[in-house]
Symmetry: C2
Subunit: 148 residues, 2 copies
DNA sequence: CACTGTATATCGTGTTACGATATATTTATG
DNA sequence: CATAAATATATCGTAACACGATATACAGTG
């Protein structure tokens, strides 16, 4: 059994590695979005709008909660995306306060391309991410056999 | 076998869920940092500096590569963190161009606390993250048995 | 000891997320 | 059913932050 200092150093190292892997994925994603002509956040908006469950009414509030943004930030993000013809906003017939979001043809096409790229990249990166996560878990009470 | 349209919709849903889970973790992390009196990026800086392998010289360039930032952005981040007594910068004796980074006592203490919280939270969130990742992988050629 | 490269630093700029606030519409309540 | 309370979206000013461009200091090489 290691002493506490070593344990704590190990945890730091493990967490640092996890964050590094995470950051690498996010960088890939940001680059891919930029190269497709989108701001990273626009990509995320499109994804959450297009990836919502079928019945879900995709409103500003819904997008905000999925993106972890405040409502007003989401409004601005939608504004920008609408200006660039990536997304459409229509006022809900049943509740005129709400705006329903939908992708444009262009939005769908760009997202389609990006999603393929992301699936491929995640397939590559997933093992490292999962391994990093498992290592963190080993430091959290629940001692699991380390599978490398 | 599903048709292509359904497949593509599934992938979007899967990717959206993965990003949502990821965002939730990042939000937790940002909140935790703020509540500990740090900017999220300062937390990441401390983590990468303290979590580096033992021999590694922790320079600005090293931190930049680990954080996925440009060198100048990292300089600014270090500036801010030094002002708040979280980190120290000493000029490398062997190469006076380099700045070696080290945590202050205060930096170590804050990071320690945050790391414990993160380990606990990741232990909670890891299963959902891993599941989301596995689902993405199923869409990437390598068909794996879905383990729920 | 010039010259090329590397490491860090400075400065001005643009994007973006936010708080505070406003407006419109729906829902609740007496 | 009139009006208050709640909800959804929108607007505006502000601050943080990452970046490009550029500068400076030092190191390695012929």
């Amino acid at each position: 059994m290691k002493n506490e200092l070593e344990e704590s150093a190990r945890l730091l190292h493990t967490l640092a590695d996890f964050r590094y892997e995470l950051r690498r994925f996010l960088q890939f994603s940001e680059n891919a979005a930029q190269e497709a002509g989108l701001q990273p956040q626009q990509h995320q908006l499109l994804l959450q709008v297009a990836g919502a469950a079928h019945e879900t009414p995709v409103t500003i509030a819904y997008a905000a909660s999925r993106l972890g943004l405040k409502h007003n930030s989401t409004v601005e993000l939608v504004d920008r995306s609408e200006r660039e013809d990536l997304i459409e906003r229509t006022i809900d017939k049943d509740d005129k306060r709400r705006a329903i979001l939908r992708l444009t043809r262009k939005g769908r096409q760009v997202l389609q391309k990006l999603s393929g790229e992301h699936a491929r990249e995640l397939n590559e990166m997933a093992p490292r991410l999962v391994r990093a996560l498992r290592r963190v878990q080993m430091h959290s009470g629940a001692q699991v056999a380390e599978v490398l």
